[in-house]
């Protein structure tokens, strides 16, 4: 169980960073909805796991937070990508693309044996 969450949190951080990069400052609920929608509702995201991940990213300096008002005038904490976060996003995107490319080669019909 802990191993699974670890891997999950790693990919979750990447999704959060990408979401903030695309949509700009956003609150926790908005990030959660966006991740769900982007995954085509295939990903069952427990919203509760998002907040510790946000806290970790904030502690590491990848994102910063600020209280503000939502579009329908609700008070909410908005998260924003920092410069360090943007750099991290670039790097992690590259890492992820590399990993998937390698795996894709293994899994392709002609792969593995060649």
């Amino acid at each position: 169980m802990p191993e699974k969450t670890d891997v999950w949190q790693g990919t979750l951080a990447l999704m959060v960073l990408k979401t903030l990069d695309t949509l700009g400052p956003l609150h926790g609920y908005g990030i959660a909805r966006r991740i769900e929608q982007t995954s085509g509702n295939l990903l069952c995201l427990n919203y509760g796991t998002l907040y510790p991940a946000l806290l970790k990213l904030e502690q590491e300096g990848s994102i910063s937070s600020e209280w503000g008002s939502s579009e329908n005038n609700r008070k909410a904490k908005f998260y924003k990508l920092t410069r360090a976060g943007r750099k991290q996003l670039e790097q992690e995107t590259q890492n992820w693309e590399q990993t998937t490319a390698i795996l894709a080669r293994f899994l392709s019909p002609s792969g593995g044996a060649a």
Partner: protein, 277 residues
């Protein structure tokens, strides 16, 4: 760098917990509110809207706990809580507290006393040059394992010695010191003239005994210990050449030995040479 930053922030998280806790509660409440708004817009009845939001969040307390663990260092936080609890318990039981503190204090005192002795006697090297090569050679007789050596025997030992590079004798004794207000007891030792050279120490001020100064017909001379120098002469350097009367004999102070300065140990009040006695 990133990890260091996170670590520092988590340590900072140990403080101002109340504010962070409020912040977290507000954030969760705002999340639920936003989710409920969406649910209501989608046409859910109000009570169901809140229930659905809570379910999707997966337990408010679990979430808070996860954030608290992430926010600071749980181990340290628990430790602090335990310490506070222990202190409260001790406060409630003054009798038990006093007994426990007393027991610990006694135990520590005993250990420190024993260690101090072992440290001085066994661990620290003697404050002399080449202490590993110093030996004490007492005379052994059937009645006494450590008997006092007689002066003629000492002379014989010295003459026949082929083992030691030097051989000198000392004897702790008390002297009657004549002062203006009468006789006072001064503890010291009688030593042979090469005693300090054998130990490998030189006087801090003044000079060592010259060879031959130990003979009976030579004038009496003495070296002061640090404590005698401080107590009787106020640590002044002009003591050299002064005459004191020890056991009725005028004795010239020629220096101050280095032993006590090296080590806080009590050394003889006056080292006096008179081998002949």
């Amino acid at each position: 760098m990133k990890t260091l930053r996170a670590c520092l922030l988590r340590i900072a998280g140990l403080f101002s917990t109340a504010r962070r806790e409020r912040d977290l509660s507000n954030e969760i409440e705002s999340h639920l509110q936003l989710h409920m708004d969406d649910n209501l817009r989608a046409g859910m009845p109000p009570e169901l809207a809140r229930r659905d939001a809570l379910l999707k969040l997966g337990g408010v307390e679990v979430l808070k706990e996860a954030c608290r663990d992430r926010r600071s260092v749980p181990f340290v936080e628990n430790l602090l809580r335990d310490v506070r609890f222990a202190l409260r318990q001790l406060q409630r039981n003054p009798g038990f507290t006093a007994t426990a503190i007393l027991m610990l204090a006694l135990g520590m005192c005993a250990s420190i006393a024993i260690f101090a002795f072992v440290d001085a006697a066994l661990l620290k090297p003697l404050p002399y040059r080449d202490p590993a090569r110093l030996v004490s050679a007492p005379e052994k007789t059937p009645t006494s394992p450590q008997s006092v050596l007689s002066y003629p025997d000492y002379l014989d030992w010295k003459r026949l010695n082929t083992v030691f590079s030097s051989l000198d004798a000392y004897q702790h004794s008390a002297f009657a010191l004549s002062t203006a207000s009468g006789a006072e007891k001064a503890s010291g030792a009688r030593v042979t003239d090469g005693f300090f050279r054998t130990l490998g120490v030189t006087p801090v001020i003044g000079r060592d005994f010259h060879p031959g100064e130990g003979l009976l017909q030579a004038p009496r001379t003495a070296l002061l210990s640090y404590s005698a120098w401080q107590q009787r002469y106020g640590g002044k350097p002009d003591v050299l050449g002064k005459t004191v009367t020890l056991n009725g004999d005028p004795t010239v102070i020629i220096g101050r030995d280095a032993i006590e300065q090296v080590r806080g140990k009590r050394s003889p009040h006056a080292c006096r040479r008179d081998e002949g006695k």
